[in-house]
């Protein structure tokens, strides 16, 4: 009989305040759940902080909190998403991700079975991405002070020599590339929202982009900007780039790939696909001369099959995003104002 011989009950149990109290129940949960599934030599150190070797190069660091509802959705769940989200932010700096941390805020009453499913999904995702979760944390909040589970991940990566990717680097004349269809993630999520329910075969595009990015950088080390158009969608990512670089963006509506179901759902709900979230797409801005080469590389990667050149960077003292419509007119693609809400008029 040691002092650590109880067992967390995953099949029937629920999170309660004792799982966050710093006592044995918490230690058990960490051992039986997090350490078990996320197992790797660095995490196994069992320290509050993880120690690991890093190759030489500048470091890249990022974090994202994940608060999605529903927690499970077609094509993913909060666990996989929280890994992809941070890996992608690191990849968008052109860096190779080295390690991740994961911090959980659990709401009292959350089923342990769901938590285990989420952690297993995180573990699978991290394994597939080849990036270990090296350290973590768990807190429990009272019922009504959380929403099931929030996961904040942070990551560290290392930047190869000679790569300088930044949203401020966009210059007039450069080409704007997009790795695939827009809006898949947002519509997949909406399809499971209570009171909106609709059916679709559409799945979230949630994916880790650092492999694609590595191929792209290998082909064209001088890429100017990479950005994953997540919350706020393509429109927001491009406005951020315009804002950071001081240039304008001119898009061609016809060139932007949109899945039919995304178009359909947006028409039904009164949304604009340009503002709908993606979790496995990237925008790339590069010299016009490199665009063809990059598109080729992107299209030969599974996550870039539908890559397209969607526009260019232009001079614009007001750094706006303008789109030539398929109809033959032009419109401003502005910042989003607040959340996009389904609407009736």
């Amino acid at each position: 009989m040691t002092s650590m011989d109880t067992q967390t009950r995953f099949r029937t149990g629920a999170v309660d305040m004792t799982h966050g109290g710093g006592g044995r129940a918490m230690t058990e949960l960490i051992k039986d759940l997090f350490h078990r599934h996320l197992k790797n030599p660095i995490l196994d150190q069992g320290h509050d902080a993880a120690v690991f070797d890093a190759p030489p190069g500048r470091l890249v660091m990022s974090t994202d909190a994940h608060v999605i509802s529903p927690l499970f959705f077609p094509g993913g769940d909060i666990g996989a998403l929280s890994v992809h989200g941070t890996l992608n932010d690191i990849a968008m700096a052109g860096a190779k991700p080295l390690s991740l941390t994961a911090s959980f805020i659990l709401e009292e009453g959350f089923p342990l079975a769901d938590l285990e499913r989420i952690v297993m999904s995180m573990a699978r995702t991290a394994r597939e991405a080849g990036v270990p979760v090296v350290s973590g944390d768990t807190k429990v909040v009272e019922k009504g002070k959380g929403d099931g589970v929030f996961i904040t991940t942070a990551g560290v990566g290392v930047l190869p020599e000679g790569v300088t990717i930044s949203p401020a680097a966009a210059k007039p004349g450069q080409a704007v590339l997009l790795s695939g269809t827009i809006g898949d993630h947002g519509v997949a999520i909406l399809s499971k929202r209570e009171n909106l329910e609709f059916e679709t075969e559409l799945r979230s595009d949630s994916a880790a982009l650092h492999g694609l990015v590595a191929d792209m950088i290998a082909a064209v080390p001088g890429i100017a900007v990479l950005r994953d158009p997540t919350r706020g969608g393509l429109a927001t990512a491009l406005n951020e780039i315009a804002h950071a670089s001081g240039a304008g963006v001119l898009l061609q509506e016809e060139a932007i790939p949109v899945a039919p179901d995304v178009e359909g759902a947006c028409e039904l709900l009164g949304l604009d696909p340009l503002y709908v979230a993606n979790e496995g797409k990237l925008v790339c801005i590069c010299e016009a001369a490199d665009a063809g080469r990059l598109l080729e590389v992107m299209r030969s990667h599974p996550l870039g099959r539908q890559a397209a050149r969607i526009g260019e960077i232009v001079e614009d003292p007001d750094h706006m995003v303008i789109m030539q419509t398929a109809f033959g007119g032009a419109r401003v693609v502005d910042w989003l104002s607040g959340e996009q809400l389904p609407r009736i008029c």
């Binding site: 329910e197 609709f198 059916e199 679709t200 075969e201 559409l202 039919p260 179901d261 178009e263 359909g264 759902a265 028409e267 039904l268 009164g270 609407r343 009736i344 008029c345």
Partner: protein, 88 residues
């Protein structure tokens, strides 16, 4: 105002409901406002209700009229062009 979109009825369900499809999207809508509705009909969907049936013939006719107006205009323009040339 009054965002409404045509979608095809793919099934008639219980309780004055039907399922419509728009591309791969399937959504239940109320048919309480329609006298009769059948699978294959296109209906105008507004706030979760089928508001009116869409007439496929009229839709085709409208598109034809648009094209014709254009053709007519092109002919007229050509004529105007000739007239202008003639006048030059």
């Amino acid at each position: 105002m009054c965002l409404a979109i045509p979608a095809r009825v793919v099934s008639i369900d219980d309780d004055a409901m039907a399922t419509v499809a728009l591309e791969g999207i399937r959504k239940p809508v109320s048919t309480a406002l329609l006298d009769e509705v059948a699978v294959g009909d296109y209906v105008l969907v507004h706030v979760g209700y089928a508001l009116h049936k869409l007439s496929e013939e009229e839709a085709e006719r409208t598109l034809r009229l648009m094209a014709e107006a254009g053709v007519l205009a092109e002919e007229l323009e050509e004529m105007a062009g000739e007239g202008a040339e003639a006048g030059a």
